[in-house]
């Protein structure tokens, strides 16, 4: 393996260019994780996204994750201010963000410290560090830089000081614009990526602006590439196989917005909330082109009520929110349940309770999605586990909502929202769309709620249908939609609304086990943890362990066959990113331990002693962590 030498201070960059080592034969890697971080506004996000797109075009598997500070403009050079992107590049298909980072490009040492403290970097990780701070006018900054640099070197990180600022300044007046493309050029060299693809990315990103912006960015890109080739003593190649099918590269929020486009829904009513809003941003941009519209309501409740009104009038509508907004919508969701109005609610989960961690990943809203709103308010709850499923789940949700006249809640989370993973480009089908609004006269004698005795299903009358006039009410009501205080009727209608879930459940297929159908340990998960869980299972199976996993997309109702699957394993546990009491805590025992949400649901439904592991650090659970937890569980 290459001996990675520590760079001399970069003031001697010019000397080193003369003594360039030349391009070494690239070291072949199966995969690598690379981060680009800066103060926000310095373009590390864009650099990372472009790198991901280029690698995807090369045919690599990728998973990109945004690194987002909680504030819009955190102070410059602050530990909590890291903004950027993390890209896992692999030879094969990549299903999650992976473990620790192997290479970081950092625009200052403070944002880097934040990542070090979060334990995101691998021991010995390569750090490409902007060196302008070493000669900064402010002595405090110089001291901080030198101290941090020394500590990082002492800790075993392979730190390369890079004169990015200085090199860029020789070409452009303000390196804050364009330094990210210099970094991209370096990374293209390091990972042996085609520079032409990076040029394409620049044209795509800046093509609408004037040509001089494009030209200057391309110049910086090429300069970064050249500098790296001349000065770095390492480079990698991650073999890629180009897919034979067109692949779509988008994040989860874009995928779900595209799902809205494809589903035939016409209205999205929303109120801004992190991390859901980017879906509505994108939708606002494109929805009108296909005859839809985004309504930004005055608040979350109004957004939900507006959606309910539009759905009631015949066009199933979607509202997109995150935890706090979801809480506010609960009463209105109950109204849709009671009135049997189709409605799709997306909750892009974030850390809670209260304002919690707005930009961070958590799976804390499963219980509120299933049991929320007062009284018995049965609704369908789905959770996509991949970016691709974010797209298709919206189409499915719209269909279920209209077939069963139910509320369908789609739970994604901050990790899915901001991560990118290529998937097969969808082929539009007309069957994804809703049929035109029924305006035919209702049959003589038909009632607005003619519940089927077996399934609880009833057709609904839509305003405009002659003969169907009735007043929909959130009060208990009979088949005529007349207010009913009769105890019998109340119970009957509770029964009918509940039966619809069972009717849907009968149409679901048993979920597929990942791995063998029998073994020592089964891990059950839901939502964005899918890729990490399956990777951990794969690692352990390669080590000869008899482990498998089961990922549930339908959380309410749950598909049939789950109990039979669990019975094939000696032990079952869930892996979730919502709180569960730690058994090692002194006062926690079987009589008071609060389990993770899915574990509670499975335990109560199936009467199986299911354990759980939860990690709620605001970031995706890493496959390495899951592997360790599973090994411990196997030993117990």
């Amino acid at each position: 393996m290459n001996q990675l030498t520590k760079q001399k201070p970069a003031r001697k960059a010019a000397d080193r260019i003369q003594a360039a080592p030349g391009r070494k034969a690239p070291l072949t890697l199966k995969e690598h994780i690379v981060e680009i971080i800066s103060d926000s506004g310095e373009g590390a996000q864009k650099c990372g996204q472009s790198l991901g797109a280029i690698a995807a075009q090369m045919g690599n598997g990728i998973w990109t994750t945004e690194i987002i500070p909680a504030e819009i403009r955190p102070p410059a050079r602050s530990v909590a201010g890291a903004s950027g992107n993390r890209i896992r590049i692999g030879s094969g298909y990549i299903t999650n963000g992976g473990d620790e980072t192997g290479l970081v490009v950092a625009f200052n040492e403070q944002v880097l410290l934040g990542r070090v403290r979060a334990k995101e970097l691998k021991p010995g990780c390569i750090i490409l560090l902007e060196d302008m701070w070493r000669t900064h006018a402010d002595a405090k900054i110089v001291a901080s830089y030198i101290e941090t640099h020394g500590k990082l070197v002492a800790a075993g990180y392979k730190v390369y000081e890079i004169p990015m600022e200085r090199e860029c300044r020789t070409m452009v007046a303000d390196p804050r614009r364009g330094k990210n493309m210099y970094a991209l050029g370096m990374l293209c060299y390091i990972y042996s990526l085609e520079l032409k693809l990076a040029v394409d990315q620049i044209v795509l990103a800046f093509g609408k602006k004037d040509q001089s912006v494009v030209d200057s960015n391309i110049m910086l890109l090429e300069a970064g590439h050249k500098w790296a080739a001349a000065n770095l003593d390492f480079c990698y190649r991650i073999p890629a196989t180009r897919s034979t099918e067109p692949q779509l590269v988008v994040n989860g929020n874009t995928a779900l917005a595209l799902g809205v486009l494809a589903s035939g829904m016409e209205i999205c009513a929303m109120y801004p909330i992190t991390p859901a809003t980017s879906a509505s941003h994108y939708l606002s941009e494109v929805f009108e082109k296909v005859g839809g519209m985004v309504h930004q309501a005055e608040d979350e409740i109004a957004a939900c009520a507006f959606a309910i009104g539009a759905s009631y009038a015949g066009k199933c509508t979607i509202t997109i929110t995150s935890g706090p907004g979801y809480s506010l919508k609960q009463e209105a969701i109950g109204l849709a349940v009671m009135g049997e109005i189709p409605l799709v609610v997306v909750n892009v989960q974030r850390g809670g309770p209260s304002t919690g961690q707005p930009t961070k990943m958590e799976q804390g809203d499963l219980m509120t999605a299933i049991f929320g709103s007062h009284g018995d308010a049965p609704k369908v709850v789905m959770a996509p586990g991949t970016i691709e499923e974010c797209f298709y789940s919206i189409i499915t949700a719209r269909k279920i909502a209209e077939t069963f006249n139910m509320v369908v809640v789609v739970l994604t989370d901050a990790a899915l929202a901001t991560s990118q993973q290529p998937f097969a480009r969808p082929q539009f089908s007309e069957t994804w769309m809703a049929p035109p609004v029924d305006q035919s006269p209702v049959p003589e004698g038909a009632k607005p709620y003619d519940w089927d005795e077996n399934t609880g299903l009833a057709r609904r009358f839509i305003p405009g249908q002659p003969g169907g006039m009735h007043t929909l009410t959130g009060l208990a009501h009979d088949r005529d939609s007349h207010v009913a205080y009769d105890a019998e009727i109340n119970e009957q209608t509770l029964r009918f609304r509940s039966l619809k879930l069972a009717a849907l459940q009968k149409t679901l297929k048993p979920p597929k086990v990942f791995g063998e159908p029998k073994g020592d340990l089964l891990v059950v998960g839901w939502g964005s943890t899918k890729g990490a869980i399956e990777e951990a299972v794969e690692m352990l199976r390669a080590e000869g362990k008899k482990v498998s996993s089961l990922h549930l997309q339908f959380l309410q109702p749950m598909a049939p066959g789950i109990k039979e699957i669990m019975q094939g394993f000696k032990k079952v546990m869930t892996i979730e990113s919502n709180w569960s009491d730690r058994p090692e805590d002194k006062i926690i025992d079987e009589s008071n331990r609060r389990y993770s949400s899915m574990a509670i649901l499975l335990r109560s439904r199936f009467l199986i002693d299911i354990d759980c592991f939860s990690e709620v650090k605001g970031q995706p659970i890493k496959p390495g962590t899951i592997r360790r937890v599973m090994l411990e569980k196997l030993k117990k």
Partner: protein
Amino acid sequence: MNMMSDMKSATSCLLEMCDEHFELEDYQSGVPRWCTGCGDNAILAAVQRLCRDEALRPEKTVFVSGIGCSSRFPHYMKTYGFHGIHGRALPVAEGVKMARPDLTVFVNTGDGDCTSIGAAHWIHAIRYNMNLTVFLHDNQIYGLTKKQASPTSPIGTKSNTTPRGSYLEALNPLTVTLGVQNVSFVAQAADWIPEVLFDIVKAAYHHKGLSFVRIIQRCPEWLPKALDPWMHDPNKVLLLNHANGLQASAGLSRVYKNQIEHDPLNIDRAREIASNTDIIPVGILYNNPKVPCYEDLRHLDKLRTPDLTRAGLNAELDKYTVWPQGAEQKVA
């Protein structure tokens, strides 16, 4: 060969449409369960008369309400109705109208529903200015929950939550509404002057945009005497006349002598009139037909057809597609 019969049927259809007329019974549903003497009954009578006179097709008409005595209104109409949750009638109605501009949408909301729990929606509904006819049934008290002070209760109102009298000056729904940008129609009626109530309901229906009608109504159960000073002294009622508004009939003028000319386009004057709470102005305070409606600003000339969707979706997918080599743009 059957062209003639087709034409006949088309003609007869058109004739039927011209001939279409409705009776009051076509809009009546059930026996209202409001108290005897409740102002809601007067509003119901005026609105049913409007529907008949305007020959509104019952299946194309929707009454949306929130929660409270007033919000039982849709149950007594033989049209489509939506009796939702407390405070949220306006956003529900906005959703209905946005999805279906072809429907005629009315909103019935009370002083608690609109000016308290739903106050945010009220302000924004004025601003959206969608083509809705909104009736604020203002009896200055919470009725259904049995006598609690509402924002419009006069200061000193004794209620179950203010047994020593309410503490705050009443909120004035007229001045609030007239203070919101994009306001396009504000009128006030009193339930005990039914002829003007009907005229106002009619003008509100014909206004394109959000017509906000505050109807001062009696609550015989909880505040039976609260409006007596105004009812017993016609001079404490101010009728607003104008060529572009309403004109008091000769009969009415014999009783209500306190009348002024008020141009409904004069918003400053409207605010002045509305600010005087010693008298009850009745008539159209403001009517500006030129304020754009949100649904017109947002409504799309494009129909959401499968072909449009396919084209739009594929255009978006193209932006994010990584093509395998040699397979460029081979998408159906």
